[in-house]
Symmetry: C2
Subunit: 156 residues, 2 copies
């Protein structure tokens, strides 16, 4: 098990686009949003498939188990097990100092939304905030991908 | 993906016990009983852990994906992700002809219930029914393990 400690931000402008390479298409869906807040997620990222279970969120921390599965299995689950609770986005990686930012440029019903996430070693780890970073939305449940799958950005 | 085609029976008496070896302790819980009837199950069987996803049941068939995971991860998920939806049983295997019967002797809140399952290649495959076999309960939802986790046999 991994303990996932994550901070999530809006982006203030497009300067980050000059610093990233090509993104990976990502399609992820929710098999369960779960009683007890356990989330079961299936994801196709580029040409790879993943199954991820996340425990209840405590502040900005969650327990997380991730398993790589075949692309065909992940695609089947996205089409048949998620009941349409699917988000589409392009994921870009941007390394700054020791940290790797994941920048998600959403598409489909969440088009127009861009979120930047960074994973930390501890909840109080200090880190340098890039100039293009916007508001901290780590604790706003609307910006969770699982929420965006059911109540997309364009409907807010 | 595997297509799971299963027949499930009560047992009429204890004659099967003379034909089996030692059973394996099994503890399995339900992370999701799912919208769209997708079930996410975690199981500890003997010293091994498994994560299994099953699609909606169509007659006696279901799509199924099973992944072996570490014993420690499975135990963590059973304790933290299942909200108490857990069944305990001892599983015995009994080979008869070309078929392998799985006989589950339930414990805890389902004590007194014994179920025998056999997996078939097709829905209409003929098979020999052992003398100790009782009623066919393949299509009775009360006998699904996921149901027994929430509404155990002793409460019927």
């Amino acid at each position: 098990m991994k303990q996932e400690i994550e901070r999530k931000f809006l982006v203030a402008d497009n300067r980050w686009r000059q610093a990233v390479g090509e993104g990976l298409l990502c399609r992820q869906g929710y098999i369960s949003l779960g009683a007890e807040s356990t989330t079961v997620r299936v994801r196709v990222l580029g040409e790879r498939g993943f199954l991820t279970l996340k425990g209840p969120q405590l502040g900005i921390s969650r327990s997380e188990f991730e398993y790589e599965i075949s692309l065909a299995e992940a695609a089947y689950m996205l089409d048949n097990f998620c009941g349409g609770r699917v988000v589409f986005k392009t994921r870009y990686l941007l390394t700054q100092g020791e940290l790797c930012w994941e920048i998600d440029d959403f598409a489909g019903a969440n088009e127009g939304l861009v979120l930047a996430e960074v994973e930390l070693e501890s909840e109080d780890q200090p880190f340098e905030q890039p100039a293009w970073l916007g508001a901290d939305v780590s604790c706003d449940p609307r910006y969770r991908n699982a929420s965006l799958a059911g109540r997309p950005f364009k409907e807010w």
